[in-house]
């Protein structure tokens, strides 16, 4: 009964209340705890404020290796997702038959859990029993068994290629939606004015697609930074530390070495990077919703 006595202008708070209670309990409070932990030295029994963990972090070669590996993984996958996604989106947007069939098929890998895609690709990469070496040898391209996941130099490219299979379809779907929203008349007008296909691509397609590109790249970057199941099932960060992306490193620090404080410190660092990377996206979305 009390609900209806609340002033109408305050009813909005009631609707968003459950959401914020959950967010605070499961995201806000743990995030705060992680930040506090990250300033607490490992030897301390209760909270003490020092920069010990951060100093240690800056001098830790394993951390810097992970930093480099994460950038390589995120950069490599996001760029490939984008390029393949764009090509496939353009193909799907052209005048072809059975477009619906191809679209359904193109997004299919994205629905598979990354754990499963990691396992399947791990077996495909198997040097002697896997299908990839078999096909390569049968076609005469290579004549020895390649150790895709066990070789330090090939492990990262192999993991990236496996991720591309599952990751590009999402980017493709966003870009395709952007392409479909471009009015046909724009292209017709350009054609009348004698523009070439490449010119209309550069001067019509790309500018009209800006919003879709920003959204796709930002969401993809955020998700790729958090990718865990794929690496966990394929390499667990190995061989050595060559595929040890941040999420893998933090997980190991938490649950393998039980360095909660140090793990929090790495995770906080990772969160800051993520936030900075996603600023353009946040800006675009918040500006967009203000304009309404």
């Amino acid at each position: 009964m009390k609900f209806f006595k609340i002033k109408p202008c305050h009813q909005g708070y009631l609707f968003i209340l459950p959401c914020f209670i959950m967010l605070f309990l499961v995201l806000g409070f743990p995030a705060l705890m992680a930040v506090v932990n990250s300033f607490t030295p490992i030897w301390a029994k209760k909270f003490t404020f020092t920069f010990d963990n951060y100093v240690k972090l800056m001098q830790d070669p394993v951390f810097w290796n992970s930093f480099r590996v994460s950038l390589l993984f995120v950069g490599g996958t996001v760029i490939l997702h984008f390029l393949i996604g764009l090509v496939v989106a353009l193909a799907l947007n052209s005048q072809i038959r059975a477009r619906k069939f191809f679209r359904v098929l193109a997004l299919l890998p994205w629905t598979v859990p990354d754990v499963i895609s990691g396992l399947v690709w791990r077996y495909m990469y198997n040097p002697t029993q896997g299908i990839i070496n078999y096909l390569l040898m049968k076609s005469g391209l290579v004549d020895t068994y390649i150790e895709w996941l066990a070789s330090p130099s090939l492990a990262m490219p192999s993991v990236i290629l496996a991720d591309v299979w599952r990751g590009y379809p999402f980017v493709m779907v966003i870009l395709l939606a952007g392409l479909q929203a471009i009015p046909r008349q724009l292209y017709e007008a350009a054609e009348v004015d004698g523009a070439s296909a490449i010119q209309s691509f550069w001067y019509i397609t790309i500018p009209s697609l800006t919003r879709a590109i920003v959204v796709a790249l930002a969401l993809d970057t955020i998700w790729q930074f958090r990718r865990f199941g794929l690496i966990y099932t394929m390499t667990q960060g190995g061989p050595g530390h060559t595929t040890e992306i941040f999420s893998m490193l933090v997980y190991k620090q938490y649950f393998k070495f039980f360095n909660f404080e140090y793990a929090s410190c790495i995770a906080v660092f990772m969160a800051i990077i993520l936030f900075v990377v996603s600023l353009p996206y946040l800006k675009l979305i918040v500006m967009g919703s203000k304009g309404e």
């Binding site: 459950p18 914020f20 496939v88 077996y123």
Partner: protein, 277 residues
Amino acid sequence: MSKLKLKSTSVAYLVLGFICVYNLMPFMWMLSTSLKTLQESYAIPPTLWPRDLTLSAYSKVLVYGNFPLYFANSTIVALSTALFSTFIGLLAGYGFSRFFFKGKALLMGIILSSQMLPGVLLVGPYFKMLSAVGLYDTRTGLIIAFTTITLPFSTWMLKGFIDTVPVELDEAAMVDGCSRLRTFFSVIFPTIAPGMVATIIFAFLLAWGDLLWCLSLTTSESVATVTLGLTRLVTQFRIIWPELMAGSVVGALPPIALYLLLQNYLIEGLTRGAVKE
């Protein structure tokens, strides 16, 4: 001109043909391996398609293994997550779409930026919290965690859908004497059903596919999910590939089936924010 069009169409077919092979090859390999005998899966060179078709891997996994249990756990967790997160997200989305209040922009900013928090930042402290309240190693603990992770996206997606419903509909209902809550349930709820379907699938896919939280927040076999069960089949010394692939096929089926049945809703929900504000 038509020559150019013909050329670009054939390039499109070429690209799509290649994509078909690329996208389907891992599925074929998964299926083919799951139908092989153990000896054949160790064959060098490998066989593309099983010489002796057998369902023994499936029977091992489904009858003698714990897979029915994993499957039930994943279903309970993912379904509850999807429903809770959509319901709470719907309430919040309605609040953001229909009311003006102090700090609205800030609160929306918080919702959006909470998506950026990486899971590994939260699992450690969350693990301690769950242990303290006795929810560690329970499905409830997982459901609460997943609901919250999907909540920002659900809220945002549903706010977008509610924005497309004219405010006049709400007002008409309220003039007729409906309360806010009644309006919400009898006007908004049915009108944005497609949006809710999209959000439900999205949250379901996310919860079904997660590994990090399952790995960090559960230990016992009785609450293990499909993804966790699969990683436990991988031991350091020996991997029984046919069984692992049979488990993967089973684990991939629900998301694929959901997607195939409801893909139009899902795609509409995913792409809405990218096309218009």
